[in-house]
Amino acid sequence: MDPEFAATVPHLHHRARNQVSVQAEPKNAAKSVGANDRAARVGRTAFALAVLAAVFYAGFILMMAVSS
């Protein structure tokens, strides 16, 4: 396994509760690849999209509240 490539997938890095015990590599192997690694990018993408969804939800209600 390439730890950097698989950085965003937690169950590849540490033992899940439901999985047989195998220590693959140090727990924080995924964290060590720098600020701009894929896990951080995934986090930023997900956050931006969640904000977008929240804006659409609240936006429509507010628009209706103001206009009626």
Partner: protein, 530 residues
């Protein structure tokens, strides 16, 4: 590399290639995209039969004029729940299941980008649908005002009302999380060299669909929240007596609702664009134009919503705008149909079950597109609106459209997923019975609608009897033939002839380079993209 003790007889051939956990906890706690894909697909299959049973209640009642089988209030609950179950429980989860299984394998990613959220997105669904279906047993029964939940009618729902709203919110949350996960995966986890314009079309159509979901599911959630506050907290968003406007609900609902119909068809376009090249043994004709057409359809889907409301009394400029905007969608849709046909043109075609379903899709979906164009003509829609013609239209695009594409996908990828070939004879039998059944079921509904039979009614005038009888016979034939599908799927999961890695002679793409079935974890090291 592995240093810890092996507590089970689990074979570990190399570093960390662990298999699934055992027993039920594998499924409850899983964060593996393949397991979650399987869960979604099985859930969808179950809902397909639940929704199908409701449809058969509807068709049984409509076999003859008069009231025979159920009382009108229960009939209305059946039409409402049939739609909600099929849309949110069968079609959407099936595509999310396909996305989970296929997108990581198609772009060369080790899993979905947010595996733990993925588990949550799925496990909300069984609770949402248990809640929704349990409303049937509440005082006053389940929702009966139609899946469109128009006020003021929907506010007459009994005790079930807040539970229906909560169930809709839960489905919405699940879809939004699923969409975020899909976008984050496609944008961030592609293997090096997998540029956007090299992605398989299924991945492209899902990327665009996921953006539609993020834009409109919150709008649905918002508008049902407003219904809730209108009912319980003294607001009057949609209550004319308090200064609100019930027609406003329709505008907001369809701002969600029209993109929603494309959410159900764009991934289908993606599936068909994968299958036809395989069995025509030619690359897809017009790949780039397919991508642009998908994006154009998605964009246009936001500016056509009021074609569902031509009869509410809009200003003339509104009628015209929404009429022409709607007609514009036929252009990118036509590009797609042209490309599929051109892919088949002079191809070395064979007609295995997935290809049969794909070809039927192209023909029958197009019939639905044409009736859509007829409905888009505002003055004509005054005649067709709220008749069986609309029912015929959307069932043509949804059943031999979206549902056939899901069946095509199931037959196409089942050998990859399970490692076994399905029974081809049984698959073909399923196909022919389905394609005959679906046309006997829905084609006569065009005539009923043109003759003026209204939708969502348990009884009708005598002159509509013959076509209704034919339609009901088709419904039972179609419903019955799905049992062959169920049997074939179960048998394929349990065993059968070994499938090769490539499975289909003409299949191309990363998923076909993996073994059948693929190992539990795939592409933990980036694949080589040529």
């Amino acid at each position: 590399m592995s240093t810890a003790s092996h507590t089970t007889d689990h074979g570990h051939d190399h570093d960390h290639d662990h298999g699934p956990a055992r027993g039920l906890s594998r499924w409850i706690l899983t964060t593996n995209h393949k397991d979650i894909g399987t869960l979604y697909l099985l859930f969808s299959l179950a809902m397909f039969f639940v929704g199908g049973a409701m449809a058969l209640v509807i068709r049984a009642e409509l076999f003859e004029p008069g009231l025979q089988v159920v009382d009108p209030h229960f009939f209305n609950q059946m039409t409402t729940l049939h739609a909600l179950v099929m849309i949110f429980g069968a079609v959407m989860p099936a595509f999310v299941g396909l996305a989970n299984w296929l997108i990581p394998m198609m772009v060369g990613a080790p899993d979905m980008a947010l595996p733990r959220m993925n588990n949550w997105s799925f496990w909300i669904m069984p609770f949402a649908f248990t809640l929704l279906l349990s409303t049937l047993f509440m005082p006053g029964g389940g929702p009966a005002g139609g899946w469109t939940l128009y006020p003021p009618l929907v506010l007459q729902t009994g005790s079930a009302f807040p539970f229906v709203i909560l169930a809709v919110h839960m489905m919405g949350a699940s879809s939004i999380m699923g969409a975020i996960n899909i976008i984050a995966t496609i944008l961030n986890l592609r293997a090096p060299g997998m540029t956007l314009m090299k992605m398989p079309l299924f991945v492209w159509t899902w990327l665009i669909t996921a953006f539609l979901l993020i834009a409109v599911m919150p709008v649905l959630a918002g508008t049902v929240t407003m219904l809730l506050t209108d009912k319980f907290f003294g607001t009057s968003f949609f209550n004319a007596a308090g200064g609100g406007d019930p027609v406003m609900f329709q505008h907001i609902f369809w701002f969600f609702g029209h993109p929603e119909v494309y959410i159900m068809i764009l991934p289908a376009f993606g599936v068909i664009s994968q299958i036809i090249p395989t069995f025509a043994r030619k690359p897809l004709f017009g790949y780039a134009s397919m991508v642009y057409a998908t994006a154009s359809i998605a964009f246009l889907s936001f500016i056509v919503w009021a074609h569902h409301m031509f009869t509410v009394g809009m200003p003339l400029a509104g009628e015209l705008f929404f009429m022409y905007a709607t007609m514009l969608i036929a252009v990118p849709t036509g590009v797609k149909v042209f490309n599929w046909v051109s892919t088949m043109w002079r191809g070395a075609m064979t007609f295995e079950t997935p290809m049969l379903f794909a070809i039927a899709f192209v023909i029958l979906f197009t019939i639905g597109g044409f009736s859509g164009l007829m409905l888009a003509i505002a003055p004509a829609d005054f005649q067709y609106h709220d008749t069986y013609f609309v029912v015929a239209h959307f069932h043509y695009v949804l059943v031999p459209g979206a549902v056939f594409s899901i069946m095509a996908a199931a037959y196409y990828w089942l050998p990859k997923w399970t490692g076994h070939m399905y029974n081809e004879k049984l698959g073909k039998l399923h196909f022919w019975l389905s394609v005959i059944g679906v046309n006997v079921l829905f084609f006569p509904q065009h005539f009923l609608g043109l003759a003026g039979m209204p939708r969502r009614i348990p009884d009708y005038a005598l002159q509509f009897t013959e076509f209704n009888m034919v339609s009901t016979v088709g419904a039972f034939l179609f419903g019955f033939s799905q049992l062959f599908f169920l049997y074939n799927v179960i048998q394929t999961i349990r065993g059968g002839a070994k499938a090769t890695d490539q499975v289909w002679e003409g299949a191309e793409g990363l998923e076909w380079t993996l073994s059948s079935p693929p190992p539990y974890h795939t592409f933990t090291t980036a694949p080589e993209i040529k």
